[in-house]
């Protein structure tokens, strides 16, 4: 069972199954795949596979890291003639200069050397697998997360949905559209206070796109915004009206809407679908319709919409992501390789291990020729 759970065959089978399920899910978006029971089962099995396989291989990795120089005069080692003690030092110096970590130990007359390089890439796959487990666990925790949204007019208060945070209220001080030097929209910023159980807990915090505000494990994201317009009308339809941005309004025989633009509110009059007149207005500005009907544009009411989220898995997933990134860089540091030597009298015994055969042969040739060079020098 353990053997099956830790096998690469199972890993490849699971990877193939998850990939195929994902392909299917994007082709038939109406079929619920990712939240289905069987897909989660696959992920769970995948997680188990990773866990067992990592646990099984970690001892070997630690053993390699802690490995000490040993006698390698066995059958697998290549025996080479050398002359004198001089070349032992020259050779270890040479290996050190090549970036190897060199350990030495003498064992009677025998001098054993162990040189290791690329330890980070030895750790890399295991760190990556571990990171994947962390991400999957975080993803599972995220399924207990909740998210919702809260809309609030500038200058007013609004309750954060209780499913996300009970007793939390926001009060919006300001909402601004920020422009860059070229006049394009750079960001939307909401400035707000947070009350928790009627006590002001955050004073003048800001949230904008790409920079959420976090408080007590609850994140506030700038999600949307909008405007209402306050108008006052005299005459037949006399009254004060608060109309949403771009919503069609009828006054006597005229049809119009008000749109908030970067420069300010714009009133558009329509005949059918066509715009027949446009006019920018300021606060307090009056427009006369007929003899006793006057429309006064009183003020703009901006509102902001914040997404609110409480997710106990996010930080776990982010930790996993960080580990994945570190592991990725480790892969780029070059293959792990190991040179083991035993010097005995005027003979040296040499083994090189590296998963890449070409690289192994290259290192063997290099060390061999260095030993030969030592022979002529010494």
């Amino acid at each position: 069972m353990i053997k099956f759970l830790s096998s690469i065959q199972l890993a490849v089978g699971l990877i193939a199954a998850i990939a195929l399920a994902s392909v299917f899910a994007t082709l038939y978006p109406t079929v619920e795949v990712f939240s289905s029971f069987w897909f989660r089962g696959l992920l769970l099995l995948f997680c188990l596979n990773l866990l067992v396989c990592t646990l099984k291989s970690l001892p070997a990795v630690f053993a390699r890291l802690k490995k000490t120089p040993a006698n390698v005069c066995g059958e697998r080692a290549e025996g080479l003639e050398i002359s004198g003690h001089q070349s032992v030092e020259a050779l270890t110096q040479f290996i050190k200069e090549k970036g190897y970590k060199v350990k030495m130990a003498s064992d009677g007359d025998r001098q054993n050397v162990l040189a290791q390089k690329g330890i980070l890439s030895l750790i890399a796959p295991h760190l990556l697998h571990l990171a994947l487990i962390v991400v999957l666990v975080g993803g599972y925790l995220s399924s207990f997360g909740v998210e919702d949204q809260v809309a609030c007019f500038v200058g007013e208060k609004a309750e954060v949905p209780a499913s996300v945070a009970e007793g939390m209220v926001i009060e919006v001080n300001d909402f601004q559209t920020v422009l860059d030097a070229e006049g394009a929209i750079e960001n939307w910023i909401t400035n707000f206070n947070i009350y928790f159980n009627d006590v002001k807990a955050v004073e003048s915090g800001t949230t904008k796109v790409n920079a959420p505000l976090k408080y007590k494990g609850i994140s506030f994201y700038q999600k949307s915004y909008g405007y209402h317009h306050l108008i006052e009308v005299t005459g037949e339809q006399a009254g004060v009206y608060q109309i949403p941005d771009q919503k069609i309004f009828k006054l006597e025989d005229k049809v119009f809407n008000i749109t908030q633009t970067i420069e300010g509110p714009l009133v558009r009059f329509f005949k059918g679908h066509e715009i027949v007149e446009e006019k920018m207005v300021k606060n307090g500005e009056k427009m006369e319709f007929s003899e006793d009907t006057v429309l006064t544009y009183v003020k703009t009411y901006p509102f902001t919409v914040l997404a609110v989220k409480k997710d106990p898995g996010t930080w776990v997933v982010m930790t996993g992501f960080l580990l994945m990134t570190v592991a990725s860089f480790f892969f780029w540091t070059g293959r792990y390789r190991e040179i083991a030597l035993s010097f005995e009298g005027n003979k040296a015994y040499l083994t090189v291990s590296c998963k890449n055969k070409a690289l192994r042969d290259e290192i063997l040739a290099e060390v061999r020729s260095k030993l030969k060079a030592g022979e002529t020098n010494g």
Partner: protein, 273 residues
């Protein structure tokens, strides 16, 4: 500077086409003397490609990585970069016959796109985007090369059986070399793909408040990542050569589908996801 864009784009395309023709003459008609011209033309194309990216960077005052056109331009640039490394480090200019057509096809697609500069949306103004897209470009460049090498592998294997004395069989390197190099390139590309996935998710978390939403683009990026991780694992079990080459080809098809297919073939889905 704005109106330099289209001429430079056309010049880049022409230079890649000419370079391809010179490599073709060098190898298919055994005109060794053409090889140097082919190499110079590739460098010229790379230079045009780079200048276009620099102009674009100056115009938008940032890295040009914000839309399909800019990403595509960087993609072609990265493919050429990885090819140049392969050509010089492993002395494999013949790979040009299989790599440059990818560049030419991509550029033929890019010349149809709108080059107008538009301001970026607030969500795109993030430093995560830069790392995200740069790592994508690096990974995709590597995978394109591995794809070309895998095609060469399959071709060579076939020709060795059917027509071992033919010219094409003669100019293609030994299958073991192609197989090994293809693996090396994927081994370098895979961590970049991992960084791409991670930074994309982190960016989504900051921007939308959700690190993963199973939207078709991210799902396809994940599928690509799964294919290449399967590739690396089957090699650990000693599966080399043909099977590995097929998986590498499949991986690159997934890359292309993520890059183009999702935008054009699954358009309705974005509103669902």
């Amino acid at each position: 500077m704005d109106n330099l864009q289209t001429p430079l784009l056309v010049a880049t395309l022409l230079a890649y086409v000419l370079a391809f023709m010179f490599y073709f003459i060098t190898f298919i008609y055994s005109k060794e003397s053409f090889l140097n011209y082919a190499k110079i033309l590739t460098l010229v194309a790379f230079l045009f490609n780079s200048s276009l990216l620099i102009i674009r960077a100056v115009l938008i005052n940032g890295l040009p990585l914000r839309n399909l056109f800019e990403f595509g331009l960087f993609f072609v640039w990265a493919i050429t970069l990885v090819f140049l490394i392969i050509q010089y480090k492993f002395n494999l200019p013949v790979a040009a016959l299989f790599v440059l057509p990818i560049n030419i096809l991509l550029l033929l697609f890019l010349v149809n796109l709108d080059v107008t500069i538009r301001p970026a949306m607030p969500a795109l103004r993030s430093k995560w985007l830069i790392v995200h897209v740069l790592s994508a470009v690096l990974a995709y460049g590597a995978f394109a090369i591995s794809f070309a090498l895998s095609i060469m592998y399959l071709l060579k294997e076939r020709l060795m059986k059917s027509n071992p004395a033919g010219r094409l069989a003669g100019i293609l390197p030994k299958p073991e070399i192609l197989d090994e190099l293809s693996y090396k390139v994927i081994f370098v590309g895979m961590p970049a793909l991992t960084i791409m996935l991670v930074t994309g998710a982190v960016w989504a978390e900051y921007s939308w408040g959700r690190y993963w939403s199973w939207d078709p683009k991210e799902t396809w990026a994940l599928i690509t990542w799964f294919i290449y991780s399967a590739y690396l694992h089957i090699r650990l079990r000693g599966w080399k050569g043909r099977k590995a080459a097929i998986l590498s080809i499949l991986g690159f098809l997934a890359v292309i589908f993520t890059f183009l297919g999702v935008s054009y073939l699954l358009p309705g889905i974005h509103s669902y996801a």
